[in-house]
């Protein structure tokens, strides 16, 4: 469904007149199927967020194409209403002047699909992300991190997209809240039959939700494995990631 075909991206380095360019993505190619959750794991600075922005069509690749159902995502009409995004910094991704209700309706307004049953739609969406109708008139600063992120998810869902890109969407939440949001995302995926592109640095979170993961390093795909085969990763870097992971364990006191 989503096909990334040999994309490259570089940014200008050091100042305005410098000719030097830093290559951020080098010949990245992969595919994300309908209804699949694809995880992209990488450290900070590996270019995974850039990849996310390219998929969303916010930026254009230097070379290569990204096709969504056979059409290039550079065309607004292709991605409008079909690809949504949820970002990490939930506080700054909702317009502070809008109420929760207005924020959720924003993408629908942009699509000029405002209908009479908008009110009930907002209620359903809020309910689906585990909030009730009392949140409609609240402003973003009145929400906690977990609540704000739920509103962002509701907003992403409002256009009933076929694909959502999550860029470190739950990394800044508390672990206990992370689990709630992850459970919610699993349910919603079933309900709407969507694909997820899940960008994160946390392998445990990726293992919880993803069907397939890409281990990303220095702008290149280091390895791509189905989640069941995560323990059999081959590359040195991926193995190192797994051994360096700090897990939580409770001893049985029996």
């Amino acid at each position: 469904m989503l096909k990334v075909d040999g994309i490259e991206k570089s940014y200008k380095q050091d100042g305005l007149f410098s000719k030097q360019r830093q290559q951020v993505l080098k010949k990245v190619a992969f595919e994300c199927k309908q209804g699949e959750c694809l995880g992209i794991i990488g450290e900070s600075g590996s270019g995974k967020s850039t990849l996310g922005r390219l998929i969303l069509g916010i930026e254009k690749p230097d070379r290569g194409r990204i096709l969504f159902e056979g059409k290039n995502v550079n065309d607004r009409r292709v991605r409008m209403g079909s690809i949504s995004a949820v970002f990490q910094n939930y506080t700054s991704s909702i317009n502070p002047f809008l109420t929760v209700e207005e924020a959720i309706m924003e993408p629908l307004k942009a699509q000029e699909k405002v209908k009479a049953d908008m009110q009930s739609k907002v209620d359903t969406l809020l309910h689906q992300v585990g909030l009730d109708s009392s949140y409609r008139l609240k402003y973003p600063h009145e929400l906690s991190g977990g609540e704000a992120q739920r509103v962002c998810i509701a907003r992403a869902l409002s256009t009933e997209p076929r694909c959502i890109v999550f860029d470190e969407a739950i990394s800044s939440l508390d672990v206990s809240v992370q689990i709630q949001v992850l459970r919610l995302l699993k349910e919603l995926k079933q309900l709407y039959q969507m694909s997820y592109v899940f960008i994160t640095h946390d392998i445990q979170v990726a293992a919880y939700i993803c069907d397939r993961v890409i281990i990303f390093r220095d702008g290149q795909i280091e390895e791509m494995v189905p989640i069941e085969q995560l323990k059999d990763v081959q590359s040195v870097y991926a193995r190192r990631l797994l051994t360096y992971l700090i897990t939580f364990q409770v001893e049985d006191q029996g």
């Binding site: 206990s176 689990i179 995560l230 897990t247």
Partner: protein, 269 residues
């Protein structure tokens, strides 16, 4: 022997009269590591900043904070300044904002060291370089000539640890030192913190919401919720037999994530 003894600490906001911490009492034993866990907004960081007296001026506090038998709350600002760094050292979450962005790392470090010791430039440089080597930083000389924005989060975090090594404080307060880091740097920073304790035998107050990291580093744990301590005790007994429902909730949610991962890793082996 307790290095820090906090008795009936109450913290409130003078502008809104909102009480942030109600009545908390705890001790850090000499040479041990106490972890404070809890969700964001539970008052973990405020507790630490109260000990360091680094809260915003409108945040008021009452109660006693005894550090080696001396009430920190009664000290003048000047005396407190002398304690910070030398006796109480803080490792912050965000390395990027912990260092002065307008000068290279070396200048900042030299300034800190010369406030506390009578060392000349060459001597302080020699000390910090050997400390940086011991926290596995390569090319320390080069790093000293770089600005904070040129270094990664994990490196800045390790520079802070190196600085703590040179200062040899009695108590280290680490406020979410690993939260902003990715897997590999998180592992390295935790390893360095453990080694730092081994080498200096100092006490530590460790704040985190990641129970995995807490389990690896701390001896005792204290669970906070909405400004109150709900449970505290030895780390193994608290995590394996949590009594308060809130602790149970924290442990089970975290376990759900870890167990799923462990099951995946064990399947078929």
């Amino acid at each position: 022997m307790n290095i820090v003894e906090v008795k009936h600490l109450k913290v409130w906001d003078a502008n809104t009269d909102k009480v942030i911490i109600h009545n908390s009492s705890f001790q850090v034993k000499q040479g041990s590591c106490l972890a404070i866990v809890g969700e964001s907004g539970s008052g973990k960081s405020v507790t630490c900043r109260s000990i360091m007296r680094l809260n915003k001026p409108w945040i008021r506090l009452s109660g006693t904070i005894l550090f080696k038998g001396e009430d920190l709350n009664q000290l003048s600002e000047q005396e407190m300044r002398r304690r910070r760094g030398k006796n109480l050292c803080m490792i912050l979450q965000n390395g990027m904002s912990a260092f002065d962005p307008s000068c290279v790392i070396g200048v900042h470090i030299r300034e800190t060291l010369q406030t506390h010791f009578n060392w000349n430039n060459r001597e302080s440089e020699r000390k910090i370089i050997s400390a940086m080597e011991s926290v596995m930083l390569k090319n320390p000389q080069e790093i000293l000539n770089q600005y904070p924005h040129q270094l990664s989060g994990g490196m800045l975090q390790r520079i802070m640890i190196a600085l703590a090594l040179v200062l040899e404080p009695d108590l280290i307060i680490a406020d979410e030192p690993t939260t902003a880091l990715d897997t590999i740097s998180q592992y390295e920073v935790v390893e360095q913190l453990i080694r730092l304790r081994e080498r200096m035998g100092c006490s530590m107050l460790f704040i985190s919401h990641d129970l995995g990291v807490v389990q690896k580093i701390a001896d005792e744990v204290m669970v906070m919720k909405d400004g109150a301590i709900v449970e505290s005790g030895d780390i193994r007994s608290v995590f394996s037999k949590p009594e308060h429902t809130y602790t149970q909730y924290l442990v089970t949610t975290r376990l759900e994530l870890s167990n799923h991962f462990r099951k995946l890793m064990q399947e078929g082996t």
